[in-house]
Amino acid sequence: MASSNTTIDMRQVLSLIEVRTHYYNLLRQLFLSEPTEQLLLEIKESGIFKELPFHDSNPLLQKGCRLAAEAMDSYDSLRKRDFEDLHWDYTRMFVGPYELPAPPWASAYSSDGRLLFQSETRQIRKAYAKYGFQLQNFGSEAEDHIGYELDFMYRLTKETASLFQEEEFGKAQSCIRDQIIFIEQHLFSWIPSFCKEMETAAHMPFYKGVAAVLEGALQLDRLLLNELSEFLLLSVNTKTEVTEDV
């Protein structure tokens, strides 16, 4: 049983966590606020959507990456008008001033009339607090915004990496468990609906792609987290081996 994981060394584990970190870093930047010109330029020039690791392992992710990459490729250079189109697409869907066709808050999906600040917001607030995080603008912004949720996951991936490095495997396990719970109970309770609405609402193919990337990436991360968790479970017995490997 332990045979397969004995072949895995800590570098692999850390690499995998790094992959997760970069996914969440990219996603949080796409969702926390309107895109800056610089972000879009970086995305275009780095071709990041062609290179996302494991993207071919999930059909949704694959589709999203293709759409987003094609959308970026279709711009010869990112002219001001192109940037503005993308910027407006974000504003229209997630900021206002009109009613939002794809509200980026969880409670908008769990309550009628698309209310903000519902029990989901409170639960998310507590999940953040457990790891010592709080919104800068506490009380005014709703914690269950997709951008903050992704930011939170991003920070937890960093936390996971340092716990592994510090060989705090018990804490790492519980941190991973919390991430699994956060994905299962919170993100997945609304992300499919959100992504569906975003895909319909987006005028720009780029954001249609991003919607699919988001849902696909979370599906992927569910697998990655399970793998990490399982690895830890098994490595409890073979702890010395693992540490030696490092």
Binding site: Q38, G47, G96, G113, R155
Partner: protein, 857 residues
């Protein structure tokens, strides 16, 4: 097993490139500088966040609805979970709990609505001078910082002021005037608004307008009436909260009720013993017919119908013997009614032809009212929101005076509307002032009349008075509060205006109609997010509300917005708004709150304040003795004066005047009720639109019932054969709540059409119909009903316009798309005098409002 861990090892992807690109993205300053992120807390702070308990906080229910009720919000972790209403006292008919209505109960959906305006936004193609102004209403938007937003507003104020003048800046409401008056002022707006012709006119002939002061008795005295006439009012819809319950007590005490209304309302169903359907805007004619009946049939000995004693002692102008000095004796009311000089007696038959009420019924009601001892003649403002209705309030008073149903227990004549519905009299308990110094004087004298302003702005000329037209060149509009573009008549022209001027700003909660056609929208807090205050209006009770939640997103309250703009204009915060902190303002209001004393003769402080309270609040003040403590007020959120029949708090309007008119004259020219009022006629003439006689003669409304005919006498119908009324509807308080999903479900906002009119047009219940006037078109789903007088449709007041600009058709049922801005008399907006037609819509059926997609672009 470990598919991905193994793949990572096998480097099945280009790790370098990924990390490289990712790092590039990471390295860049990718977030706009000011944006929110998660931050790390201390362990203690994190611990505190984990523990929380709910608290019930008195929450504002602040709307302009005519009710004042108690609302409380259950707050857990700074988030409102649910609301409840008054449970602070035993409930009884004499002292009812002040229960909130369907709208207050939906307020959680308003405050937390996903469509709240969250950040300052700028119309993308705006540029100084307006940019492409035609794009207003359809443009893209950009989120901007408060700093940028106030910069833009201040610099546009400066630019427009310098290029044109302060006379080019129009403010429709709110307190931005505090800032603007510091730099030379602004143009304002005015009109008779909800009151119709009751707003200013009655002061000249001796009645009250019904909002600030009342000509009707209080709710406990209403139970002494044997007959109550509800003339054009439907408290069940337009005054939710306690008023309808109060009426029910009068009914239970034995009153009969006659309801005179174009619509068989819920109030008619609940209270009415008889419904008299009448064509909108013809009430005056109907009442003349009733007056004629009394004059014709009255015999002081054998059939006393007219209260001659009252007429003689308390009024002027009824007949030639009662004319005031210097007036033409022939111009008296009685001779007008009898047609002595114009050859047209205003008989019941004459009135019947206009009002649609059978002559026999007219006579019967007249006799009934005149021969019953104690009658309450109550009217709402609705019949006065009619073009050319300037003489109607005087007519109403005149009939009350003829029958003597005034100023005695169980006898009253006047307005029963809004806060004063069925409950007249001065407030028994009230809040104090907040101590904010008054604003600077506005140096610009110009003010535009609601019913004329859109036209005036488009034409560059407005009516300032009799034979007094002045030029005007509006280039900036600041909507500080309210819903001007939605609630003023002639909305289509209003939209044109908004696509013409150089700059438009709106403070708001949602992308309301005002906001939609703006360049800059500034997100405002609701009272739930503010420090606290009082809600007043209900005579029996004072409502105190506290801060419920933090301001949402980047919303600021209006005073803060004004202050920041003022500062950008080069003033200090103190210069704009004084230096009274919000906390101190609230304290001042509490300390200044007063309640009627036991004897009912004077007021005394309501709240006991100790030195400890003052230091705990961190404010300046003096200790005082009152009825309740601050903490009791903070917890209950209401103080209600205990009432019982025969107590010292009752109110009989104009009681002293009637007892001794000489010693207690009214504030009219003659000191009496003026059935002949030169002052009223002069006042109306001076406004500059149309003129009236000193006695209440009947002037058909412009676009009123008579205009539904091509030829009235031949009974040949014209192009717009129907009249439209705009009932207040429980879905909304004016325009507020129109976007509220629970209310959309409960109140679908159908257009009410009578079965007869529907049948004639082949329209079935549930069909989508196009309603059209000469001013605009709107779509609604038809509610076919027996409850309307045929010839009238009911389009509910306040829906947010949703223009299909290609077809030039509104889809939301906006009442003011149908109204034309035609100013008459004392600047009355004609909401209940518009003529129209409807037909089955051949295009795509409307979906129910509750199924509407969000309002998006």
């Amino acid at each position: 097993m470990f598919e991905f861990l193994n793949k990572v090892k096998e480097h099945k992807f280009s790790r370098r490139s990924f990390i490289g690109a990712g790092a590039a993205v990471t390295a860049g300053a990718v977030f706009p500088a000011s944006r929110n992120k998660l931050q790390k807390l201390t362990a203690v702070q994190a611990e505190e966040l984990q523990s929380s308990e709910g608290e019930w906080i008195p929450a504002a229910c602040w709307h302009n609805c005519g009710g004042r009720c108690l609302l409380k919000a259950e707050v857990v972790d700074g988030i409102v979970k649910r609301v409840k209403t008054d449970d602070t006292r035993e409930d009884s008919p004499d002292n009812p709990q002040q229960r909130a209505c369907v709208r207050g109960r939906s307020q959680r959906q308003q405050v937390y609505g996903v469509d709240r305006l969250k950040y300052p936004m700028k119309r993308k193609h705006w540029e100084p001078g307006g940019g492409n102004k035609e794009l207003r209403g359809n443009d893209e938007w950009v989120r901007i910082s408060w700093d940028e937003a106030t910069d833009i507003v201040a610099s546009e104020i400066e630019r427009i002021k310098n290029k044109y003048s302060n006379r080019s800046i129009l403010v429709t409401g709110g307190d931005i005037g505090r800032a603007l008056n510091l730099v030379g002022g602004h143009v304002g707006t005015w009109g008779t608004t909800s009151w119709g012709s009751w707003r200013w006119g009655p002061a000249y002939f001796g009645l009250q307008e019904g909002y600030f002061e009342h000509s009707i008795n209080d709710r406990i005295d209403l139970r002494n009436s044997q007959l109550i006439v509800l003339w054009g009012l439907n408290p069940a819809w337009s005054s939710p909260g306690s008023p309808t319950y109060n009426f029910l007590q009068a009914k239970k005490a034995g009153a009969r009720v006659i309801v005179i209304d174009p619509m068989y309302s819920e109030s008619a169903e609940l209270l009415g013993d008889e419904w008299v359907p009448v064509h909108p805007g013809t009430d005056h004619a109907l009442m003349l017919g009733m007056a004629h009946t009394l004059i014709e049939e009255d015999d002081p000995d054998s059939n006393p119908l007219i209260d001659w004693d009252f007429l003689k002692s308390c009024t002027v102008g009824f007949d030639q013997d009662m004319m005031p000095e210097g007036a033409d004796k022939e111009a008296n009311f009685k001779d007008y009614v009898l047609g002595t000089h114009d050859g047209q007696p205003k008989t019941a038959e004459w009135a019947s032809e206009i009002s649609g009420v059978e002559a026999g019924v007219i006579r019967r009601i007249a006799r009934d009212i005149a021969s019953t001892n104690r009658v309450a003649l109550l009217t709402g403002w609705a019949p006065a929101r009619i073009k050319n209705s300037d003489s109607w309030p005087q007519m109403f008073m005149t009939f009350g005076a003829m029958t003597g149903h005034m100023a005695q227990p169980g006898r009253m004549t006047g307005v029963s509307c809004h806060f004063g519905t069925g409950n007249g009299g001065p407030r028994l308990v009230m809040g104090g002032g907040n101590g904010v110094p008054p604003a600077e004087e506005n140096d610009v004298p110009d003010s535009l009349v609601h019913a004329e302003m859109w036209d005036a702005i488009l034409k560059g000329e407005y009516t300032a008075g009799y034979n007094d037209k002045r030029d005007i060149d509006i280039q900036m509009i600041y909507h500080g509060m309210g819903a001007t573009l939605q609630t003023r008549d002639g909305q289509s022209k209003g939209i044109d205006v908004h696509k013409n001027v150089e700059f438009v700003v709106t403070n708001g909660h949602f992308i309301t109609t005002n906001a939609k056609y703006s360049d800059i929208v500034l997100p405002a807090t609701t009272p739930w997010e503010r420090e606290g205050g009082f809600n007043v209006g209900n005579r029996d009770a004072l409502f105190y509300y506290r801060n419920v939640i933090d301001p949402l997103f980047e919303c600021k309250d209006d005073a803060e917005i004004t202050t920041e703009i003022g500062m950008k204009l080069g003033f200090t915060a103190e210069e704009v708004y004084g230096d009274v902190s919000p906390r101190q303002q609230l304290f001042n209001q509490i300390a200044g709150a007063q309640v009627i004393n036991k004897a009912g003769t004077d007021y005394e402080p309501l709240v006991t304040i100790t030195n400890k309270d003052i230091s705990e609040w961190g404010v300046e003040g003096e200790p005082q003795k009152g009825r309740i403590t601050i903490s009791e007020l903070e917890e209950k959120g209401v103080y209600q004066v205990e009432r019982k029949p025969g107590d010292n708090y009752g109110y009989i309007a104009q009681e002293a005047f009637r007892k001794d008119p000489e010693a207690n004259p009214l504030e009219t020219a003659t000191g009496k009720l003026e059935i002949y009022s030169e002052a009223l006629a002069e006042y109306v003439k001076g406004i500059g639109f149309t003129e009236i006689d000193p006695i209440p003669t009947y002037n058909p409304a412009i676009e009123g019932y008579e205009d539904t005919y091509k030829n009235f006498h031949a009974k040949e119908k014209g192009d717009y054969p129907l009249q439209v009324i705009n009932p207040h509807y429980l879905r909304r308080a004016h325009t507020i709540f129109d976007n509220n999903p629970w209310l959309r479900e409960a109140w679908p906002n159908d257009v009410y059409v009578s079965t007869a009119d529907a049948r004639e047009r082949g329209v079935k219940n549930g069909d989508t119909v196009l309603v059209e006037s000469k001013h605009g078109k709107t779509l609604r789903i038809a509610h076919v009903t027996e409850r309307l007088i045929p010839g009238t449709i009911g389009l509910m007041h306040g829906a947010w316009v949703e223009m299909d600009e290609e077809k030039d058709i509104d889809k939301a049922g906006s009442d003011n798309i149908l109204t034309g801005a035609i100013a008459t008399g004392q600047a009355i907006s004609g909401w209940n005098s518009t003529i129209c037609d409807f037909r089955k819509w051949e295009g795509e059926d409307l979906k129910l409002d509750k199924l509407w997609e969000p309002r998006t672009v």
